[in-house]
């Protein structure tokens, strides 16, 4: 029980935070309340502008490289054109882009799902027991320090060349941030919640599932977010040893031999697009439906 630090200042029901802001800024409007809108652009407008900036920088870089080094650096236009071409089902390295995408998503999903289940269980246990945390957390920190590519020899030694090595690399890079954040989340759960649950007769299982797990959810979601991104980013490295000839990462690497850089860029664009979609399309709504609805939104 003593592993729980009482954190009165983070009590989710305390209104002290906003009151504090008021006291500190008696004249200016309280922080967190949006001032009258200064930008004439809507959200969508700003998002479009942000995309335009990226494309403009890319275009500038492409033109500069073409001029200075004389190599055919793909422009956004080339890339999107190639993307549409591949989207019509034309083969890339013997398979359609859809096959590459589906295989990558399957590997990513499998690896991440394993990391999520094991990571949350480990995080709950490490957050619960100070002894376990002291014994095991250093290992987790070491795992986190190892760069994605460095797992290749480990994966090959463990599983050989193939699907399982690829999934292992995705899982192992997603695992550490999930554990670390879940542990922090559990330790941050107000001890008073634990006492309240116990005096209402909660057994360990109820305490874990209905108090510690939801109580640590804000941190846990951050951990999943980082883990998912780590797993996706390591895809290229992980597919170096996939052995089957499919996958977006594999296709990017093959450009070394085929010199088809435009297709690599197209695959890269898909990877970025998928990452953004998951971040905006899954985690944003998930947080709104849980953390914010409970009035737990972390003061930013």
């Amino acid at each position: 029980m003593s592993t729980f630090q009482r954190r009165a200042d983070q009590h989710p029901e305390g209104g002290g935070r906003s009151a504090g802001h008021d006291a500190l800024t008696p004249v200016a409007p309280p922080l967190g309340l949006a001032p009258p809108r200064r930008f004439p652009l809507s959200h969508a407008g700003l998002a479009l502008l942000a995309i335009f900036i990226v494309l403009a920088l890319w275009q500038g870089l492409a033109v500069a490289v073409q001029q200075l080094r004389g190599v055919p650096f793909p422009t956004p236009y080339d890339t999107i054109e190639r993307l549409l071409y591949l989207g019509r089902g034309r083969p890339l390295l013997e398979f359609t882009i859809y096959r590459h995408l589906a295989d990558s998503l399957l590997r990513w999903g499998t690896g991440f799902a394993m990391a999520m289940v094991l990571g949350i269980i480990a995080g709950l246990l490490l957050g619960w027991s100070r002894l376990l945390e002291r014994l095991i957390m250093p290992t987790i920190h070491v795992l986190q320090l190892i760069p994605g590519l460095a797992w290749i020899p480990v994966a090959i030694l463990l599983f050989g060349i193939g699907e399982r090595s690829t999934i292992f690399m995705i899982a192992v890079t997603a695992f550490a941030p999930i554990v670390i954040n879940t542990t922090a989340g559990v330790k941050g759960v107000d001890e008073m919640y634990v006492r309240a649950a116990r005096m209402m007769g909660a057994d360990d299982r109820t305490l874990f599932l209905r108090v510690l797990l939801p109580g640590s959810l804000p941190h846990l979601l951050s951990g999943l977010r980082v883990g998912l991104a780590n797993g996706w980013r390591v895809l290229v490295a992980a597919e170096m040893i996939v052995g089957t000839g499919t996958g977006l990462g594999y296709s990017i690497l093959q450009a070394r031999w085929t010199l088809d850089y435009t297709s690599s860029f197209a695959c890269l664009l898909i990877i970025v697009g998928i990452g953004l979609t998951v971040e905006r399309g899954i985690f944003g709504p998930l947080e709104r439906r849980t953390v914010e609805r409970w009035g737990l939104a972390r003061a930013g």
């Binding site: 009590h11 989710p12 029901e13 107000d190 008073m192 919640y193 006492r195 309240a196 649950a197 116990r198 005096m199 209402m200 007769g201 909660a202 057994d203 109820t206 209905r210 108090v211 939801p214 109580g215 959810l217 849980t290 609805r293 409970w294 009035g295 737990l296």
Partner: protein
């Protein structure tokens, strides 16, 4: 009469790992509370009232002495002793109704039964219309009503209340106290109520115990035999209040953790013995 809660020569020393200091929160405190008795525990802040309550709740273990509840020693928190904390400590991830159902899940009731019990107790505290709300949408007084309903739903043998209405405005506090008394008349329970307002203690209690800071212990234990229902402004309440204020006036107003030397000696005595 049967003693429901019994403290025998209970001492509690807190050890601060960071500065190595010992703080004597309670020293040889004895107190008996009978079944269905409403006892208010008064005392200056820092005298160990909440510590005493936490010992009875089972959140803390005594350094010396025995804490008994019902037939046996207190070994940990359990649903026969419902606690209403200073802060509501409702689970923000559950609705009001789910908060009240929380303890019922461990009683192996099925979902319709749980809902029915929760509904009954939410009605009892006047919050039946807020069953689907989230705790953060409620006012402080409403949250404490839910906190009361969730322990009453478990039909505990004792209610342990740690200044639950202390942070509410005076009007809300009075109303909640009246409601608590009304509910207590219907569902008789042993009540240990930690409080710092003398007049409110007299208004509520069958008996008021005054706890002085360690090394003192319970320095006054007054039965309040004013018939119920009581009037906060009646001369009897006023008279009993004045008597208690006289007792409290002889105590220091607050206590610094300066008894570390004494506490250390106590620890050494215990280790030697």
């Amino acid at each position: 009469m049967i003693a429901m809660i019994e403290l025998h020569q209970v001492s509690k020393v807190f050890h601060n790992d960071e500065n190595g200091q010992h703080v004597q929160a309670l020293q040889q405190v004895s107190l008996e509370i009978e079944e269905n008795e409403f006892v208010c525990l008064l005392g200056p802040s820092g005298c160990g009232k909440s510590t005493l309550l936490n010992l009875v709740a089972g959140f803390e273990q005594p350094t010396a002495g025995r804490v008994l509840f019902g037939d046996g020693p207190v070994t940990g928190p359990a649903r026969d002793r419902g606690v209403v904390f200073q802060e509501p400590t409702l689970f923000p991830w559950l609705t009001v109704e789910q908060n009240v159902e929380f303890g019922l899940r461990n009683l192996h009731l099925d979902a319709p039964q749980r809902r029915q019990v929760a509904g009954r107790f939410l009605t009892l505290v006047g919050l039946q219309d807020f069953a689907r709300a989230r705790p953060h949408q409620l006012s402080g007084g409403m949250k404490q009503r839910v906190a009361l309903a969730r322990v009453l739903a478990l039909n505990p043998r004792a209610l342990l209340m740690d200044e639950p209405f202390g942070s509410l405005d005076a009007q809300t506090r009075d109303r909640l106290q009246d409601e608590l008394l009304r509910i207590w008349q219907i569902h008789r329970k042993t009540v240990l109520f930690v409080i710092h307002n003398v007049e409110e203690a007299v208004y509520l209690a069958d008996r008021v115990a005054v706890l002085a800071p360690a090394p003192d212990s319970i320095i006054a234990d007054l039965p309040i035999s004013i018939p119920r229902p009581r009037d906060r402004f009646s001369p009897e309440v006023r008279e009993a209040t004045m008597a208690l204020i006289g007792v409290l006036a002889n105590l220091p107003c607050c206590v610094l953790p300066s008894q570390s030397e004494e506490a250390r000696q106590t620890m050494q005595l215990q280790e030697g013995g």
